[in-house]
Subunit: 279 residues, 2 copies
């Protein structure tokens, strides 16, 4: 195959790498046979100037035909960026993820620093540690969190540290402040954060303990990853603060209240079950 | 006179206070007689629900009839907010103001902090001190610089301080970092900045050494305060990086190049002379 240039979400171009597609499929739990099938379909049909979005959609369609649940998992990144338009559902989702990981977790907590009070998007606490999180949510995956974001979050971090994290850390627990985004960081902001001691977590960053690893280790899926619900139905649930597939599994009546018939309720529950078997 | 409610630029309402109008006219250099005349016209004709913009315009019109140069000075605040739409002319203007006050001054300077390089809007230096300025320009006077701005500027300040202000301060000069805006600050950001040690300068803030005092002490007026030029002519000059009345006074040919006839050139130069006599 000739070299193909594809457009990335941030507008830059890169050479299409089959290996990258293989890896992302593998990380999503696709079998070797499924990977071969998707890759051969996609590489046969893409052409130069296609966007990475289109490559994704194509791969997703093929995968969806041959193994629906794997496809849903493959689309986690996309599902997270569909939690918007506001950052609120992402806050709730991350708070639930940390609950599932064994933390007492709350969103939108007011905490006093030395010089100001701050609204902390998520505070997660267990007997050993307390993690304060500032979340930056973007609908558009091409938007990166830049230097100004890293700077103001670091100033907030410093102010909270000077008041012992609003006394959360008085008992001598390990205390951390994280800047978490569902997209990426600019290279300047990464350089700054490393030097200044600010922990940043984004999509695929850092290589260990990045956002998708944290989410996958909780085994929780946002409802936006379901292929059996329409966009309107997803919005309906998000507006009711229902962000997890697990909630729909536990409370089937919510699906009926949203107007799904018996057949579609079955299909949705089957898809959710497939996802959790993979988890 | 009954109590009148007027709308402020930020959307809130306040009781119209004659005293406030008197004071702003006085600060602009109006004589007692001029003040009486403006106040009696304005209070006779305003009504509830008028905006503070409309009160300003009305006062300006009356003042313009009875003492044109004072009116131009009265409109300084407005003139500054017309330096946009981008913040670039405001940077250039402030840089020139500090030159006039005896500093070597430059805009858009890249300076290395400990962890990152930063673009500093204005650096002003003399033999005793170096002042780094971050400028926040708003066209809309109702927009205030909030906590996030104060936080990121403070983080930038800290990073620069850790590298001795990019070695500008190595000679033992007094070194300061200012956040300067042509509008106001939220009360939370003021509280934070006072506690964190960040110097903030805005319109009417602080009571001594605020933005209009700094500008007035330089004796420089931006071309946007002239009543003898049209909006298009002002834009023409701003696009050519001509921000000062003084420049037009020194280089009359610029007025001719902008298409003004002999009569209008005269009028403009007369207005500028009136302004500098007041300065």
């Amino acid at each position: 195959m000739d070299k193909l240039l594809i457009k990335k979400a941030d507008g830059t171009t890169e050479v299409f790498k089959e290996e990258k597609l293989r890896n992302s499929l593998k990380r999503s739990g696709a079998t070797d046979k499924q990977i071969e099938e998707v890759v051969s379909h996609v590489t046969a049909e893409i052409h130069t100037d296609v966007t990475s979005d289109e490559v994704f959609k194509h791969a997703f369609e093929v995968l969806n035909k041959i193994g629906g649940s794997v496809a849903a998992k493959y689309s986690l990144r996309r599902a997270i960026s569909q939690l918007g338009p506001s950052g609120f559902p992402f806050e709730q989702f991350m708070s639930r993820v940390f609950n599932e990981l064994g933390y007492r977790s709350h969103s939108g907590v007011i905490v006093n620093g030395k010089c100001a009070e701050h609204e902390i998007d998520v505070v997660a606490e267990n007997d050993q540690e307390v993690i304060f999180m500032e979340l930056k949510f973007h609908n558009n995956f091409g938007l990166k969190s830049d230097m100004k974001v890293a700077l103001y979050v670091q100033a907030r971090h410093n102010d909270l540290k000077k008041n012992n994290f609003g006394h959360y850390a008085d008992a001598g627990k390990k205390s951390e402040f994280w800047l978490v985004t569902n997209t990426k960081f600019t290279s300047n902001s990464i350089k700054y954060a490393k030097c200044a001691g600010l922990k940043m977590i984004g999509w695929s960053y850092p290589s260990k303990g990045n956002l998708q690893e944290i989410i996958e280790s909780s085994g929780l899926q946002p409802i936006t990853c379901l292929t059996t619900l329409t966009t309107d139905e997803k919005s309906y649930f998000l507006n009711k603060n229902i962000v997890l597939c697990k909630t729909l599994q536990e409370k089937e009546h919510l699906l009926i209240e949203a107007g799904l018939d018996k057949n579609r309720v079955e299909n949705t529950l089957t898809e959710i079950k497939g996802l959790s078997d993979l988890g």
